[in-house]
Amino acid sequence: MTRIELTARQTLTCRISAFDLRMNDWAGLPTIEIQKQLIHCCQQPIELGEWFDVASHDDAMNHLSVVWSADCGRIDHLGVGWRHGLLVVHGNVGHACGACMTGGRIEIDGNAGDQLGSAIGSRGTGINGGVLIVSGNAGNDAGQRMRRGELYVRGSAGDGMGSLMYAGTIGCGGNAGQRVGIGMRRGTIILPSPSSINPLSHGSTSRFTEPRLLTTPFQTILAHRRWTKNWIGDLIVSRRSVCRGDLTVGGQGEVWF
């Protein structure tokens, strides 16, 4: 299948929106056509080739791979609506990376901005399938309105992680900010500690139940998959307690810690 590599020619100096890039449709496209794809820089459309060198070749994998070798911290909406294949970014990404993705896998070797894999614009659903992995930290509202799929952040996450989520799985290896899982209906949030949800501190008005012993063999299934990175497996299998919530909306979500 096709492997497409993009390398930055220079350091990005303005904010770029990659909202209009449909990278899943790049398989089979000639390089020159990919370079003509439009991105928006300071609200002005420019061709991708003006900022990035594009190389394309076939590899042994049976899926599309798109690799960005650049610090994309100023690129927003990267991988919006990602459907299949593998998207890798060797560097940081901006806001709304992987928003509304429905399948495939996105791997970020750096930090991510706000609204990581969340619902954007008028869309009511964030991640609706696939796997989004961030090796660094994430900003606010990661996994907001998530319905399906998986989101893992190795470092810390900002406020509102997993807020209003319908289902799916979110894992965070570092500290999570305030309002974690607020308004969650179902789904699973995996944390190193319960400090972000404070299940006991609010007594009967708490959004989450008291911690119970976590006894599910699903931990093993979730942790031991061929693609699962070691830190994700360790994060999952070492959880021992669970809280259920958000009770204020009748939610049956669970927070493992």
Partner: protein, 212 residues
Amino acid sequence: MHHGVSAGPDQIPKRVPLGKSLRYFGDGHQISKRITLVDESGADRPRRFWRIPVMDGEFICEHDVGRTNAIGGGNFILLGRSHQSVTLACRAAIAAINPMPGVITPFPGGATRSGSKVGSRYPTLSASTNESFCPSLRHLPDSMLPQEATVAIEVVIDGIDANRIAAAMKAGMEAACHVDAAEPLVGITAGNYGGKLGRHHFHLRDMINLES
């Protein structure tokens, strides 16, 4: 619960519903999890699991599983003088069969005391007790229980193909014969069903003569 066939509905359209039906036992407390796993071809494939709360934790199964054609009902019957001797032989046989690929012993513990025959005097039943091996029915003219045998337990084997079932039967019978019990087995036989059930016949003498 693992079915061993990881291909999805696009490759194996014949499906057996598991969690698809069982989830309702959760009465609203069940949890659906659709996670990405790598299938045999190396491709990412989403698979749906159901987590159903039960009294000792959680029961987990897949939404549905692929189904493939196979052969069911390979069997041999161990005959002995006591429950203890036959049970020990059974356990040795099952232990020998369990690691073999492509075969299963579908009964709990791998063996059954309620061996059956095809048909019944009641028209609605397709199977009924195999009276030929029931000690309490030894007086019947068609009893096949040897005089000194008081217990018969049947080991049932299902497999992907006839060769694997034959190999499993051979391994099971040899293990049963070599078990270190106070009393040896009286004999080993098999349900024959008049030779009319199924296309595949496994003759025990041929099994024993199989090359390892």
